[in-house]
Amino acid sequence: MRDVIVIGAGGGGPVVAKELAERGLDVLLLEAGARFEDPESEWSRIQNDANNPLSGYLRVGPADRSRPAWARETNVAIGQASGVGGTTTHYYGNSPRAMPGAFAGYVGPDRDAYDRRYEFPFSYKSLVPYYEWVEETLPVQTAAMGRKEDAFFRGADRIGLAHQTEKDISRDSYRPQENAILQPKANAGRTSDPLKLVFPKARGCTFCGHCLSGCVLPRKAPRNLKAKRSTDNSYVPMALTADGWSKHGKPITLVADAFVTRIHTETIEGTVAARAVTWRVGATGETITEEAKVVVMAAGCIEAPRLWLNSTLPDPNGWVGRGLTNHYLDLVIGQMPFDVGGSKGPGSAARADFPGRGSIEHWGGISPGLLTTLVGISEAGISGYYDNGLPSKAGADGTGRLFGNDLKSFFSEIDRLMLLSPLVDDHVERQNFVTLSRAFPPDEHGPVPKVQVLHRERTRRTLENREFLTEQAVHIARAAGATRVHRVRMAEAIVHIQSTMRMGHSEDDSVLEPSGEARWVKRLFIADNSALANGIGGPNPTLTTQALATRTAEKILTTYFGGDPWVKTGCPISSIDDRVSTAVQQAGIA
């Protein structure tokens, strides 16, 4: 019997696995997708090969790319990835902390601007030590800037926003991102000559512009010293080598191509508790069952509720899968009269935050195929022809999708584009959910998930927040010098998926206890974005999920294994520590 089985090697699962392995527990980490053992040779970093949602190497699908992506019944376009690293393989490493107002006990004057009904069931202050632990471990660093960030900062400054220099968000402000990306050193960021961009001639981010396609740079760097701190480059290498850098560490067992189809429970003296999991081996179809003292679900906001329901676990209040938040994204594009290097550099290295409203992510580093796809996903019709009754441009020159020569013209110089995405503080709504599809046939893993988001049917506050943030984004683009600004008014596209297995105060509207343990199944915890209580006020969710996963790991050790808490008294070992690098190289991890 294992001590702990963690289901899912994405943004949260490896955090729990590493923390518990560091303290000597026997941990099995299961990942449904590919292992990605040698990404330098496996990943071309080219858009269709990497990011085609049906066939790309980062798609949500089996390790064998000749087989179709996993089916989902949905009315939305979903931005996720599978394989070791999960969605962090294509994230931008943005690691802002949550808005303090999203937590219990918040007493700021804007208190009522937040989703008070579904607040986190503990204080922001109590989570800060866990933030700090993760920020040291990844590590999180203040982003350097290139030309595209320079233009953004100019615009943000000109509209009167304050320059934020602290980690905690407290006012309307702009700043360089706090990114889980090693910042450039030596030749990195200073050349495009590939011979000069090999480790250790280059260290940290080389400004290649391919965050979305998985980070393999600098070439020849040990896996834990690749620039972007996706979990395949940070927590997973640490977990696999825990005995090499931790006195009491025990390396985890990692099994990829292992799709968990069922969590088994037992009932002892009237209490239901997790006991084992069954997974299917993708390559052979074999099913394997292992027992564990504790099970941690971390398969993501869509697969976690699916697995729960397919395992026929209890759902007495009907909140399993409910309350999906997704930051109700929009997209504003400024056409600049000069080159800002829009396709180069880190995916996002600058942002603005508006407490009680949400955030604006400035981004770039994207290929023309993916960008024009996003511009094609609009609820406001085709620009210049029809708008589906949604005429609001929020101050921009146009809205809706661009096609034909309008599209070609607008995107004729990709390096002159400024991209701004409002990340809305969208409120938890029961009508947005994940459940099991009754329309699609089951696949080899059982009934497939159904994802429903009623895009326009949001709370008044959510709708107002989106308009407010979009107007601010338009102001920033114009102040930065944009000669034409376009609002896409994005339709049903969800990237930051959160809170489908939410923790909360009340047993009437949450799935998890404040500890991260399931309300109705003991010894079962959840440690991915689905565990978040709400949309955290708008900032990118990964850091908060990882801080919460660290807190959950501590609860597991203290509750079920007799261990002591460590975060408030200990000192984290960074994933780029020399001891970790040595252990990773000795283990032959590419």
Partner: protein, 245 residues
């Protein structure tokens, strides 16, 4: 609360469904299933062009009309729609073929025996939908003399096809499926026009030349591979390298 569950019990194997059962079960909720049934449904609504059966040449011809709409070039489809361009577009990128490949991989259905690829082939049904709506927008369209009714439309009338598809009334699942398709299809066409599929050498995972989409967006001038880095570093904003706690 649930009762005791045997730790070694296996989830019941989904019983393989026949194609007919699948289509019945899917009703109108599933996009793919809905599309697969569209010919019959649209016939009932008076939209279906009987000639628009699932024909490979017709499907490609329709997709070519779609990608020329998304990204025009100097090709015959763009000229026929009265919106062309001197620089290459979706036709030069063979985006119509790429669309078919992607649509035929869209809906995984491993338990459905008839489809050897493990997915429901959808491209023909999508072509039917576009051609049926095209016939209702301009029944006499003849520009270019293409087999596909959609490809014979003017650019403005192609827009009208999408306006009507997006405006499909009703809260029934078919209406939702059509609106969803109308929402995603043009953007995905743009993706196919701008991506590297047409010059990607799968065995070596390299490009045999510059993608059309890279040229028309001036992406990576002169390059034929993903870059390892750029000399873009300007420094740190206001010299600050670390956030205050």
């Amino acid at each position: 609360m649930s009762g005791h569950t045997d730790a070694h019990a296996q989830p019941s194997d989904p019983r393989p469904l026949s194609r007919r059962e699948f289509l019945t079960r899917a009703g109108w909720t599933a996009l793919g299933a809905a599309l697969f049934q569209l010919p019959g449904v649209l016939r009932g609504r008076g939209w279906l062009d009987e000639a628009a059966a699932q024909n490979a040449d017709l499907t490609l011809d329709t997709m070519n009309g779609l990608v020329a709409f998304a990204v025009p070039g100097p090709d015959v489809y763009s000229i026929a729609q009265e919106q062309s361009s001197t620089s290459p577009g979706g036709i030069a990128a063979r985006a119509g073929e790429n669309m078919i490949q992607n649509l035929d991989a869209f809906l995984a259905a491993p338990s459905l025996g008839p489809f050897s690829s493990g997915a429901v082939p959808l491209s023909g049904a999508v072509a039917n939908l576009l051609n049926s709506m095209a016939a209702s927008v301009d029944p006499t369209a003849a520009s270019g003399g293409f087999p596909s009714h959609f490809s014979r439309l003017s650019f403005a009338n192609k827009v009208e096809v999408f306006r009507r598809l997006e405006g499909t009334q009703g809260d029934d699942d078919l209406a939702k499926a059509i609106r969803y398709l109308a929402l995603l299809l043009p953007g995905f066409a743009a993706f196919c026009c701008y991506n590297e599929w047409h010059v990607f050498d799968e065995p070596t995972r390299t490009l045999s030349g510059r993608p059309v989409g890279w040229d028309i967006s001036n992406y990576y001038p002169g390059q034929t591979a993903a870059a390892d880095g750029w000399p873009e570093l300007l420094g740190y904003y206001k010299g600050r390298k670390k956030a205050e706690r």
